[in-house]
């Protein structure tokens, strides 16, 4: 992408970079680059299409599975407190359980799920890259 801005010296001594007019949404539109392994993808052949569909499906399945974990783990709590009031009155270290679950435990859970997602999503992408670049052209 665009290089870092010129930070050298005092502001006055440097000739200012030319102002460019950016037309949003058009910036990324064309990016010509050709390579045999990638043309299949870029040209939307049936093989390329299937590859992309596979990747999208894998990533979506991963995201949905992990959001299900959170939906059950956290989203089930109001229902649990409502149908089993005993959970609300239970205490741990002298603090009522709902306070600990919502005030403290929820945040590490969210970060942990996020961390797992980043790892697995990157693995999916590596698999996809390896598949596209497989040597049997």
């Amino acid at each position: 992408m665009a290089g870092p801005p010129d930070r050298s010296g005092s502001a006055g001594a440097v000739t200012p970079p030319r102002r460019t007019r950016l037309v949003l949404a058009e910036v990324t539109r064309d990016r010509g680059d050709s390579d045999r392994t990638r043309t299949e993808l870029a040209e939307q052949t049936r093989v390329g299409e299937a590859l992309v569909r596979g990747l999208v499906r894998a990533q979506l399945a991963l995201a949905l599975r992990l959001s299900l974990v959170v939906a059950i783990g956290l989203g089930g709590l109001p229902l649990l407190f409502a149908v089993a009031p005993a959970v609300g009155t239970a205490t741990l270290f002298g603090i009522n359980l709902p306070w600990l679950l919502l005030g403290v435990a929820a945040f590490p859970l969210l970060v942990a799920v996020g961390w797992i997602f980043v790892r697995l999503a990157e693995r999916n992408e590596q698999d996809f890259t390896a598949l596209v670049r497989r040597p049997e052209r």
Binding site: P4, R19, T20, V27, A42, P78, P85, G88, G114
Partner: protein
């Protein structure tokens, strides 16, 4: 007795904000510097900046106030505000960055190629931005009025003016540094006093948060009533109070129960149970849906993702943000809980949003430590107003300059900033009675009912069409906007209608998704022909360099 450190602390935060803005100004020369910091911001800086921008008046002041007032049920606010970043990470972060769009309207055009949809998205960005800006300015006015006794408009106008000038002159490059600085300031400003407060609580022999006889005044207190209310006094009588009434309590007197506030220990301490209140459960789930899904639709949150170099970096940045925001949200609970002990008078006055600012002085006394910590908290609160308003203003102004004024120039951006800043300033002066946290919650509900389905379906479903997207945004988002207008302008409601309007997300979000999918399937032929190429660009890893 006024605190001599307060005003210098607030002035210092404001000056540092402006100074970093001007430092950034020297680096910002092109339009892309202005709008997206030339995409040369490192992930850690970027994550701190996103966190700094996100933690608003509602997070810094509102959550602790709500916890003081309502107890365990409102812990869903901080959990939801943090979980919103997880939803963003799972469904949006990397593909959105790869789309190469700068703004939400831009995404509509990249994905669906529709100018009209772009205009609709622009309208929603501006509406959500302004809806979210008003409570920030209000919070500033109320804080300055509480701690320094200034008239309400002063704080609101000071923040509006500083932020508008800073954004207009420095653009986002400057803002990135400002925001990152302000994240750490806000964390420090809550964490350090929290440690002192916890130690003080230990030193006071751990007074019970929910004593069996209900909360009591620790010291002789005079309370000036701000809102009309019905008080249930300890001798069983009730008393109607009006704004301006003064009530005097001796040390050890029980805090009178105020209508609509959970003074009763078990209401406050325990979650709402089934049977007793189905509406409470509905409102809880509605809040969860709005905050979990609303974050991804907030314009100032999304605009930050374009400053990541690629999709993988966007994912990693989001994870760091999630951790940073989660760490911050451990703190307001402490203030809300200790507020039950040290500032119970706020339950009577109804000014519970002031608990964070008043608690250090109330718990630690009038000594230098208490005053310095009070000043630190006030500075943090100002950082919250400044940073969130800056981010909102940048994104609203960016959209106005490119989509309404139709110019891509720096001058156009500056003009747009002035317009974008003036409107909420005028609104904030005229609606001082609104509840800060409630308005923020409504902004989340509108975002969750309009941009969340648009982004999620746009990124993951090939079948989305421009008509489907527009219909979903109009029906779902429109319903949420209607709920906002009824809440703000309409008559007071009661029973189920009140719950459905005050917490609309549980019905508007499914409505938006359903309409979007149904209309898209009915207009299947309008799906863009290049959807395969778009999907490839959104999801293919950069390592392929397609």
């Amino acid at each position: 007795m006024p605190n001599p450190y307060l005003v210098p602390a607030i002035v210092a935060v404001t000056l540092v904000t402006v100074a970093i803005g001007f430092y950034g100004l020297r680096l910002a020369r092109t339009t892309s510097d202005f709008l997206v910091a030339s995409r040369a911001v490192s992930p850690t800086w970027n994550a701190a900046a996103i966190g700094g921008e996100y933690l608003s008046a509602a997070s810094f002041l509102g959550i602790a106030g709500l916890i003081l007032k309502y107890g365990v049920d409102v812990l869903w606010y901080p959990v939801g505000f943090a979980a919103g970043y997880l939803a963003l990470l799972l469904f949006v972060a990397a593909p959105l960055r790869r789309s190469g769009a700068f703004t939400l309207p831009d995404f509509c055009e990249v994905r669906l190629g529709s100018r009209r949809l772009r205009t609709l998205a622009t309208a929603f960005v501006i509406f959500i931005g302004w809806l979210y800006l008003v409570p920030q300015l209000q919070g500033a006015g109320l804080t300055l009025a509480t701690v320094a006794g200034s008239p309400y408009p002063v704080g609101a106008l000071v923040v509006a003016a500083v932020v508008t000038a800073n954004v207009a002159l420095g653009g986002m490059r400057a803002i990135t540094f400002v925001q990152a600085f302000q994240y750490w300031l806000k964390l420090t400003a809550l964490a350090v006093p929290a440690i002192f407060l916890a130690l003080q609580w230990q030193a006071d022999a751990r007074p019970a948060v929910t004593p069996p006889d209900g909360p009591a005044f620790r010291t002789a207190t005079t309370v000036v009533v701000e809102h009309p209310a019905t008080l249930a006094l300890s001798d069983g009588q009730t008393r109607e109070v009006r704004p301006g009434d003064e009530l005097t309590f001796a040390a050890g007197d029980p805090v009178p129960a105020v209508s609509g506030v959970a003074t009763d220990a078990s209401d406050w301490l325990l979650p709402s149970t089934a049977g007793a209140d189905d509406r409470g459960l509905f409102a809880t789930y509605s809040l969860i849906l709005a905050t979990f899904l609303g974050t991804m639709g907030l314009p100032h949150v999304l605009v930050r993702f374009y400053t990541n170099p690629d999709g993988a970096a966007a994912r990693r940045t989001t994870l760091v943000v999630l951790a940073m925001v989660g760490a911050f949200y451990l703190l307001p609970t402490i203030y809300g809980v200790l507020g039950r002990i040290y500032t119970p008078q706020l339950l009577v006055t109804g000014q519970t949003d002031a608990v964070v600012v008043l608690l250090p002085g109330a718990a630690l006394g009038d000594g230098t430590t208490g005053r310095l910590l009070a000043a630190l908290v006030a500075a943090g609160a100002f950082a919250a107003f400044l940073s969130t308003s800056s981010g909102l203003l940048t994104s609203v102004a960016g959209v106005i300059s490119t989509d309404v004024l139709g110019r891509g120039s720096v001058r156009g951006f500056r003009l747009a900033t002035v317009i974008a800043g003036a409107v909420p300033a005028v609104l904030a002066l005229n609606v001082s009675g609104l509840n800060v946290s409630q308005v923020v919650g409504l902004a989340f509900a509108v975002a969750a009912s309009s941009f969340c389905p648009l982004l999620v379906l746009g990124i993951w479903w090939r079948g989305l069409t421009d008509l489907g997207a527009a219909a979903g945004v109009l029906v779902g988002g429109g319903a949420a906007v209607g709920a906002v207008l009824v809440t703000v302008l309409g008559p007071p409601l009661s029973g189920w209608p009140a719950t459905l309007i005050a917490q609309p997300a549980a019905w508007t979000v499914p409505l938006a998704f359903t309409v979007m999918v149904a209309v898209s399937m009915a207009t299947r032929r309008r799906a863009p022909a290049d959807v395969g190429a778009t999907m490839l660009r959104l999801h293919a890893p950069e390592a392929l360099r397609l």
